[in-house]
């Protein structure tokens, strides 16, 4: 009995936010009379939140190391502006422009990381300065004007879909095929993982539980692709997101670098005395954030089809909120990439659902504020138990 209780309470903490997300989805599905989960709207939710998810992943890493980055919105705007200048005014090729923009993101990250890691200035201050600095530079670059429109090739990244090479007409067969392929890959991965665990004599979930888990997840994957298939199929940006989520989860869980990031956030002194180059770790995490901010700026500019001075306003707060709702702790050392994505989706579904219901932006802000506070309070109370 105690074991079951333990299992339950452990899992509430682990899956708490997923449960909350499912709850919010069901709630708005009812409140909006079924509009929320219509194929068009599901696609919308993904595309509307793609750039926040990108930021949230980077922010999660930053917060895990015990730091904060307030400048990401300004950096995104700045990079968007540069992209406008390069592609629209200088007519540079899309590919070259994107590369240059990501590189600029890295340089900005290195600039901030340098002050934080090597000069020991609190990241709050450094990135507060960065927030002002890069917002100002955005205005300088754009001369207060909006630059538009972007070339088609660039817009594809954030607002177009994979072509349906199978030609299913109304219905995107190719998308369904992708769902099946992903399912098969997933099953193979899980079985190999389980086999390895058995080989090393580790405890594994019993077979019925294992199969149930596989069935549930395969169902989720295929229902998801089915819904996408009913509209335009798979957006390019979803592929970018999937690669980022899988890649970063792998890095954080399975690599030495990932372990070092957690260690630096968990106890920087102990990490240092264990031979970890703590300054370098922080420096790299900021460079990473810079690159992801740049990517966010590009996706946003492409979606808006314009580089504007106001781009990225308050993005930093959305990203921080997503990371915190997703389980990050400001004391550092805790959090997962997947959690950040869930956190971003919680905020995204709230935004979308409330907009569908016709709730004004005023109340939306207020409600989001309360949800953020509530989520963290829930987590804190749960831990104190």
């Amino acid at each position: 009995m105690d074991a079951i209780k333990h299992l339950l309470s452990e899992n509430i903490r682990r899956f708490g936010m997923i449960i909350a997300l499912v709850g919010i989805v069901i709630l708005f599905q009812i409140l909006t009379g079924g509009i929320l989960l219509q194929p068009l709207n599901v696609t919308n939710i993904i595309m509307q939140n793609s750039y926040i998810i990108v930021l949230a992943i980077g922010m999660m890493l930053i917060i895990i190391t015990g730091e904060i980055d307030l400048s990401v919105g300004s950096v995104a705007a700045f990079v968007g502006a540069i992209a406008g200048v390069l592609m629209v005014q200088s007519e540079l090729s899309v590919f070259a422009s994107i590369l240059i923009c990501l590189l600029i993101g890295a340089v900005i990250g290195a600039w901030q990381g340098f002050w934080v890691a090597y000069v020991n200035i609190p990241s709050f201050i450094v990135t507060l300065a960065g927030m002002l600095l890069f917002r100002g530079l955005t205005l300088v670059v754009l001369d207060g004007q909006t630059i538009a429109p972007f070339p088609d090739g660039f817009r594809k990244m954030s607002s177009d879909f994979l072509p349906d090479i199978l030609g299913g007409g109304q219905f995107q067969l190719f998308t369904l095929l992708v769902g099946v392929i992903v399912s098969v890959l997933y099953i193979i991965h899980e079985i190999r993982y389980r086999r390895n665990e058995l080989k090393y004599n580790l405890k594994v979930a019993n077979t019925p539980l294992f199969i149930t888990k596989l069935i549930v997840l395969v169902a989720v994957i295929n229902i998801f692709t089915y819904v996408l298939a009913l509209y335009e199929g798979i957006p390019y940006v979803l592929i970018i997101l999937a690669l980022l989520i899988i890649g970063y989860t792998y890095v954080m869980n399975n690599t030495v670098q990932g372990r070092h990031i957690y260690a630096v956030g968990g106890n920087v002194n102990a990490a240092q005395l264990s031979g970890i180059k703590t300054k370098k770790v922080k420096f790299l995490v900021f460079i990473n954030m810079g690159v992801l901010s740049a990517l966010c700026g590009l996706i946003f500019a492409g979606r808006l089809n314009a580089a504007t001075p106001q781009a990225g306003n308050l993005f930093e707060l959305d990203a921080i909120a997503a990371a915190v709702i997703g389980g990050a702790s400001f004391t550092g050392g805790v959090g997962t990439v997947f959690g950040a994505v869930i956190g971003a989706l919680v905020m995204g579904v709230l935004n979308n659902g409330m907009s569908l219901m016709g709730i004004g932006i005023d109340w939306q802000q207020a409600i989001k504020g309360l949800v953020l506070l509530g989520a963290v309070a829930f987590d804190v109370l749960n831990k104190n138990k």
């Binding site: 390895n196 080989k199 957690y262 968990g266 005395l273 264990s274 031979g275």
Partner: protein, 510 residues
């Protein structure tokens, strides 16, 4: 004198899943120093928390009788109002505030919210005189030593009109001189009629000052021993604490000493902030294969600074000197290089510098050498589990699982995890800084056994300790360090506390 000031009768306190106190009885006579002793986790701190109202009335069963009256404390304020003041192991002083501000914190000399600074300062001066502390009341806490901070805590207690003073391990962070000072103060306070309950692991000091000793084990009162003549034997107390005879505090080992493998020559270092202050002055030490070398010194002598500056220059500025291994000079420019050269350093403060408390036993153990279980920077989770499991059983870390967060382990097991982390890097030279600080007798013995096993396998160990008996019991050779200089080198056969003390204090106060 024989009147009972405090009776705690049949106290039982349960936490979810654990019975922390099981029918505990404690009777304290008026005006005595009553020692409370037991292994870590025996329930001493919990008992004192019940007494002071940290665990409020209703959360435990049993009676607290103070001066013949049953007390039902709901908050600390209520127990303080009756003159019960507890000084915790971790000092509760605010570093950035002055001594005077700290003493009257929450109890300000004020009228209608306006602080009367003159009264505050004069009162503080009086109190400081009482505890024999000769510093300005306006000095900030962060600028005075740990020993002095402890005295400030006692002055704070006196300001509250204390009748029953509870001290939880007051000397664990103090050097011998400061400890003696503090114990003498307790004796002074006793003359003035203040009763004290003293919790400590240091048997010698308990025997020296206490009038009676109550032993707790596994949440139960084992016995109360009278100690009016201060002549009770350590063995007698230990027997009560562990429930068995520890015939020898230090396990036996074979002394099989080989060639010099590790050598530090002309090592000097300066303070990281006030760079003109020299902390280490031409220190030269060496260690042989299979040897335990001790470093004795008073607090501030530069022991930890020596170890940390050798270990990847983690302390100090303008470091000069050379480090040799097997006759060849090695590079210890940073921690990584030091680890690669086969050096390990166990910090004196496991919580701040040793462990990642929110991380698992497994992740802590492999942290300093992840490459061993990785390929192309990718960790093999199964190899990692295997490595952690094998260390767990080798050094007997008591934890339900290697995935347990280290914050949940007892002090002794936490220390084993840190030790395990360094054993895992397979070093040839281990520098152990206070390896048994703040852990109980049983766990100490186990740590000693691990240390012995390491040297028997040909490792060299440099052991820093504030407890001289520990150095005498374990080491083959002991260096004494005083004001950053090596003042003596004594072989096992010739060493005793008096000689060590003499060299350790050389140059001090002159």
């Amino acid at each position: 004198m024989s009147q009972t000031i405090l009776e705690m009768n049949n106290i039982t306190k349960t936490f979810p899943g654990v019975k922390a106190l099981d029918d505990v009885n404690l009777h304290v006579q008026n005006g005595e120093i009553h020692a409370l002793i037991g292994e870590n986790g025996a329930g001493k701190s919990t008992l004192m928390k019940v007494l002071s109202g940290v665990h409020p009335f209703g959360s435990y069963s049993g009676d607290i009788v103070l001066n013949g009256e049953i007390c039902k404390f709901k908050t600390i304020n209520q127990s303080e109002a009756l003159g019960i003041v507890i000084i915790h192991q971790e000092l509760a002083l605010i570093p950035e505030l002055s001594i005077a501000e700290n003493i009257f914190l929450g109890n300000e000399r004020a009228k209608r919210g306006i602080v009367n600074w003159n009264e505050t300062i004069t009162k503080t001066e009086e109190l400081l005189k009482k505890v024999g502390l000769n510093v300005s009341p306006q000095e900030k806490i962060k600028d005075i030593g740990v020993g002095q901070q402890q005295l400030v805590e006692i002055a704070k207690a006196l300001s509250k009109n204390v009748k029953l003073l509870i001290l939880d391990e007051p000397t664990s962070a103090l050097n011998e001189e400061d400890s003696d000072n503090l114990l003498n103060l307790l004796l002074d306070l006793k003359e003035q009629g203040i009763t004290s309950i003293l919790i400590s692991h240091k048997l010698k000091e308990l025997i020296k000052v206490s009038d009676s000793i109550t032993i707790l084990r596994d949440g139960q009162t084992i016995e109360t021993l009278p100690n009016t003549n201060k002549d009770i034997s350590e063995d007698r107390i230990i027997k009560g604490m562990v429930g068995r005879d520890l015939t020898n505090l230090f396990p036996e080992r074979e002394h099989n000493i080989g060639e010099v493998v590790f050598e530090v020559k002309d090592w000097s270092a300066y303070h990281p902030v006030t760079v003109e202050r020299q902390i280490l002055n031409n220190v030269s030490i060496n260690a042989r294969k299979g040897e335990i070398v001790g470093i004795a010194g008073l607090m501030g002598a530069g022991r930890t600074e020596l170890a940390m500056s050798i270990f990847g220059k983690s302390y100090g500025k303008k470091i000069t000197g050379k480090v040799f291994k097997d006759g060849k000079e090695i590079d210890v420019r940073n921690v990584n290089k030091a680890i690669e050269s086969g050096i390990a350093y166990l910090s004196e403060n496991r919580k701040e510098y040793g462990l990642i408390l929110i991380d698992s036993v497994k992740n802590n153990i492999t942290l300093a050498d992840l490459n061993r279980v990785s390929k192309n920077n990718v960790i093999n989770p199964y190899e990692e589990i295997k490595a952690a499991e094998s260390l767990k059983s080798r050094i007997n870390i008591k934890t339900p699982s290697i995935n347990q967060e280290t914050v949940n382990l007892s002090g002794g097991n936490q220390q084993k995890v840190v030790l395990g982390k360094w054993i895992y890097t397979d070093p040839e030279i281990l520098i152990l800084d206070e390896p048994t600080r703040g852990i109980d007798v049983g766990a100490k013995f186990e740590i000693y056994k691990i240390i012995n096993e390491l040297v028997e396998n040909g490792k060299s160990i440099i052991m820093i300790s504030s407890e001289l008996p520990e150095l005498l019991g374990m080491c083959d050779r002991i260096y004494t360090l005083s004001e950053g200089k090596i003042t003596g080198e004594i072989n096992r056969e010739n060493a005793n506390q008096e000689i060590l003390m003499k060299y350790m204090t050389e140059g001090w106060g002159s």
